[in-house]
């Protein structure tokens, strides 16, 4: 049985179809990524999956329960890390966990027995009696993650879990999410950090304008959608980048220019690299293509506000 099964989901707000016929399934025990630019419909999709709003049409089954009819029953086995922290500012870390456990109908004694373990998982053992206002952004995120685990859920939804965190804090969150995956939890994650998706997700879908535009593992998506190598070239002190691009376009499978940088997507970058080495005033970087290249190819370079 799939942990989450979504069939032809549709939702319209004010005449705009925010989710426009989305279908996907998440196998139990896997980490599933829901990727897309801002406004692609990621958060609305999560809300529909949790039964926090009803679809115009389509079907969702979460942990075997029909959503939204049996959403409250389904949510008993689910944890949610929302995009914006909504910890209780009036409580300490430990009290936040206690109060949250009560919403699941857990007994106080059971929750209290679990709190040290949850705080340790969040690396917050020394902060049990600390006020929320004294925590850093990373600590708040970790406490939010611990709070989502209070009921020992089978499925954890994470809406942009590392947005706004510094690299150290992000790495710690990633480490914990990997631990959860090895413990057999299903993770459903939205993000627009492609390195995050590449590290964590077994499979992912890319959505834009409420529609699925790609699906697969990070490696599959890179192999299917894009040349394996990228050379980025940019102007440094008076080099003529446009002229170079025009003259050497045929050395790459595809060339994209964005501002002062040209991206050459190629299978064999050696001839291009040789030319670049001779070109005056141009600097360049050669790297393997990644999920971000796929994402940009699929959703375009223009800003989404």
């Amino acid at each position: 049985m799939a942990a989450l099964d979504v069939q032809d989901l549709r939702k319209t707000y004010g005449g705009t179809e925010v989710v426009a016929g989305l279908s996907f399934a998440v196998e139990a025990g896997r980490c599933f990524g829901l990727l897309g630019p801002n406004g692609a419909g990621k958060t609305t999709t999560l809300r529909l999956c949790l039964g926090l709003t009803g679809p115009d049409s389509g079907a969702v089954r979460l942990n075997g329960c029909a959503i939204p009819d049996q959403a409250q029953q389904a949510r008993a086995r689910v944890g949610v890390v929302p995009q914006f922290d909504n910890l209780d500012p009036d409580f300490t870390c430990a009290e936040n966990l206690l109060v949250f456990g009560r919403y699941f109908g857990m007994k106080d004694a059971d929750i209290r027995a679990r709190i040290p373990e949850l705080l340790e998982f969040a690396s917050l053992s020394s902060k049990a009696d600390a006020k929320i206002s004294s925590l850093s952004g990373g600590m708040k995120r970790r406490l939010t993650l611990a709070r989502a685990l209070v009921n020992d859920p089978d499925i954890v939804f994470l809406d942009e879990p590392t947005t706004g965190l510094d690299p150290q804090a992000r790495h710690l969150i990633w480490d914990r999410l990997k631990q959860l995956k090895s413990a057999g939890k299903t993770l459903i994650l939205t993000t627009h950090f492609m390195d995050e998706a590449e590290r964590l997700c077994d499979t992912l879908i890319v959505i834009d304008h409420g529609r699925k535009i790609a699906e697969g593992s990070p490696r599959q998506l890179i192999a299917e959608h894009i040349e394996p190598q990228v050379v980025e070239a940019y102007d440094e002190a008076g080099g003529d980048l446009p002229a170079f691009v025009d003259a050497h376009r045929q050395l790459a499978g595809r060339v994209e220019t964005s501002g002062e940088t040209a991206f050459f997507y190629c299978s064999d970058p050696r001839p291009l690299l040789a030319r670049l080495a001779e070109a005056p005033g141009l600097r360049y970087v050669h790297r393997a293509s990644n999920l971000e290249d796929v994402f940009i190819k699929l959703t375009g370079r223009e800003l989404r506000d």
Binding site: G54, Q72, A76, N86, D88, G105, E117, F121
Partner: protein
């Protein structure tokens, strides 16, 4: 991390509001004493100032002193204000600013549990407030006999009605500023025509009739005789009106909140 499945006890859905109430109670407990004193000071100053100061110039009203007349009105007005403040400002903070309701809605609890938890919590706070005034009134010797204890359930009913009415306005509010209109257009005029400060027979007949059906007047009609040691006339009607107000307003508040949060 230990992954043994914790059994989630099946809870009667009718009690889903309780952990929400419990959360608010835990926050209140941390600030209980200043909160009670703060709620007590303002109405007492008015009651004692107007009651003894203005009352010295006034004749008795239906055989009681003006301060005793005002005491019953003050109990009800404090109850109303406490329930209203909680259902407007405090509930709005939790719903809109702190997003506490959003966090709760990610658990097995539903919006009905959240709104009912807020309803019962606001009524609880109004009971603290009304009861505190009642104690002071009793100590001042302005009550007559144990029948005054029946004012407590009347306070709860009044609190429920105003909590539910406040939650309707809360569901519609774009910001805190919006709550001022509720006070200037509804609460303040109602206080003046519900027999809190003076008997409603001083008003034009039609206004007295309108005022008589408002929930505050229903509370006053129960509490004033009880403090005077009498069984309120038509008690059942007043109880039913308050219960109906609370019930209907709750259903409307829940629908409007659902439209706001779960659209």
């Amino acid at each position: 991390m230990n992954t043994t499945a914790l059994s989630t006890p099946t809870r009667l859905p009718a009690f889903g509001w309780f952990p929400v109430w419990q959360r608010n109670f835990l926050v209140w407990r941390k600030l209980a004493l200043p909160s009670i004193l703060g709620n007590l000071a303002d109405p007492l100053i008015y009651m004692l100032g107007l009651g003894y100061g203005l009352g010295a110039m006034l004749p008795e009203i239906n055989g009681t002193s003006y301060v005793a007349f005002l005491a019953a009105g003050t109990v009800c007005a404090s109850t109303m204000n406490a329930a209203t403040f909680e259902a407007l400002y405090s509930a709005f903070s939790r719903m809109h600013v702190q997003k506490t309701w959003d966090a709760i809605l990610n658990t097995p609890l539903g919006l009905a549990d959240v709104v009912a938890g807020e309803l019962f919590w606001a009524a609880t706070k109004s009971l603290f407030s009304g009861a505190a005034i009642l104690v002071v009134v009793a100590v001042l010797g302005l009550t007559h006999g144990p029948l005054a204890l029946w004012a407590l359930p009347a306070i709860v009913l009044t609190g429920l009605a105003f909590a539910a009415l406040g939650l309707i306005w809360n569901a519609l509010a774009p910001s805190y500023d919006f709550f001022m209109y509720y006070f200037t257009l509804f609460i303040t005029p109602m206080t003046l025509i519900s027999g809190v400060f003076f008997p409603t027979d001083q008003l034009p007949g039609w206004l007295a009739t309108v005022g008589g059906w408002l929930p505050l007047a229903q509370g006053v009609a129960l509490v004033r005789p009880l403090l005077a040691g009498e069984v309120p006339p038509n008690a059942l009607i007043h109880i039913m009106v308050l219960l109906a107000t609370a019930g209907v307003a709750f259903v409307i508040a829940l629908r409007l909140t659902r439209r706001r949060l779960l659209k």
